[in-house]
Assembly symmetry: C2
Homo-oligomer: 222 residues x 2
């Protein structure tokens, strides 16, 4: 049962680990499952063969025997369901961890992506400087609430879970925005995630792709 995931051939973040394949790599490393990676170009992502795997033309996808999955939340959940260590064993704790998974993706991430994408879609408009602080305040609403709930706890609800894995990577998207620095407990939370050996292996694996891509581009230029 080989697991194959897809990732960017040429990641827009140049190996900072913000692309969504890092979430799946980290989950697989936490549970100790080996996996293969198929790299896809931006052009290939919009072609019928990839759209058959992922209706929205994104990465990562997940293939295992005759199962094909898309959407990182679902892939991480599938890995957590079929392997030990990423979700609590007791029913109520498990349901709460799943609630945190959904909230990371449906409540915390959307305003973060909205702020991030605004630069690409309207960054050249004369009114962008007026829009950006409004979008940042919307991010702050969620960070305030998240920081309040987390308090001094290590993880969102008891032991480290798939929800923390996703939340840490959702929050990492705010690096270089200056917003995270307003929340010392969230910075410490991210650092705890990044200190996990499984995270480090996942991060190194995606970085190796970016470095290889960079090398190939350099060679092409020469």
């Amino acid at each position: 049962m080989t697991i194959t995931i897809t990732a960017f051939e040429s990641s827009p973040d140049g190996g900072r680990g913000l692309a969504r394949d890092t979430r799946v790599r980290w989950a697989l490393e936490e549970v100790g499952r080996p996996y293969a990676v198929r790299l896809v170009s931006f052009k290939e992502m919009k072609e019928p063969s990839h759209l058959a795997l992922h209706p929205f033309g994104q990465i990562p996808t997940y293939e295992e025997d005759d199962l094909v999955l898309f959407e990182t939340g679902a892939i991480v959940f599938h890995i957590a369901q079929h392997n030990k260590g990423l979700l609590p064993e007791d029913g109520n704790g498990r349901a709460r961890a799943i609630a945190w998974m959904f909230s990371a993706l449906n409540t915390v991430e959307p305003p973060i992506v909205e702020r991030e994408q605004s630069r690409f879609i309207v960054g050249d408009k004369r009114w962008y400087g007026e829009l950006l602080p409004i979008l940042e305040d919307r991010v702050r609403v969620r960070l305030d609430q998240l920081a309040d709930r987390l308090g001094d706890a290590q993880w969102l609800d008891g032991a480290f879970s798939a929800a923390d894995l996703i939340m840490v990577l959702v929050l990492r998207r705010l690096e270089r925005s200056g917003l995270l620095e307003e929340y010392p407990n969230l910075c410490a939370y991210i650092a705890r995630g990044e200190a996990r050996p499984a995270y480090k292996r996942a991060f190194e694996a995606q970085l190796a792709v970016a470095n290889h891509d960079r090398g190939a581009k350099d060679a092409k230029r020469q």
Copy 2:
């Protein structure tokens, strides 16, 4: 085992069924589980007693014995896990339905909410007329892909599932935007969802709250 959910005392949509409690009501109606509703005001939603149930101060919440859940995706999933009829029985089909649940909430809904909220947060700016079509095009990217994948199928992947329940209500947020009319198969898909007896019961239940609220406000004015 009484199930109690929370809903708006005074829904901003006046009973159109777009508030997120409709998702949970519909899921409970599909599986035939009775439930109680506790109405909360906007003020109460931000108070410590509600924040203890929902860290982001929203509705709905879900209480059953000593389990407290927030986030509609997680609540609908919990209902689907513990009752028959909302998720396929076979493992692969179930995993794919869960992928569609996450994609409804993390890929399709965010640009829809972004467009919807833009009116409230920057609708008074002189440049709003320039921003709105850009946000609408971002919604169209996802609707194009969703319409392509759905094609002439009745539901997203085989039989009706929790994923369709969420996707139908995510798409309904675009009513009155004029965007849905560009996609006849998505309109037909929404209509199939709305034709389900369980949906009708859920819709009527939330409408009764809005009508009662309206009556109370009228009485106050007299």
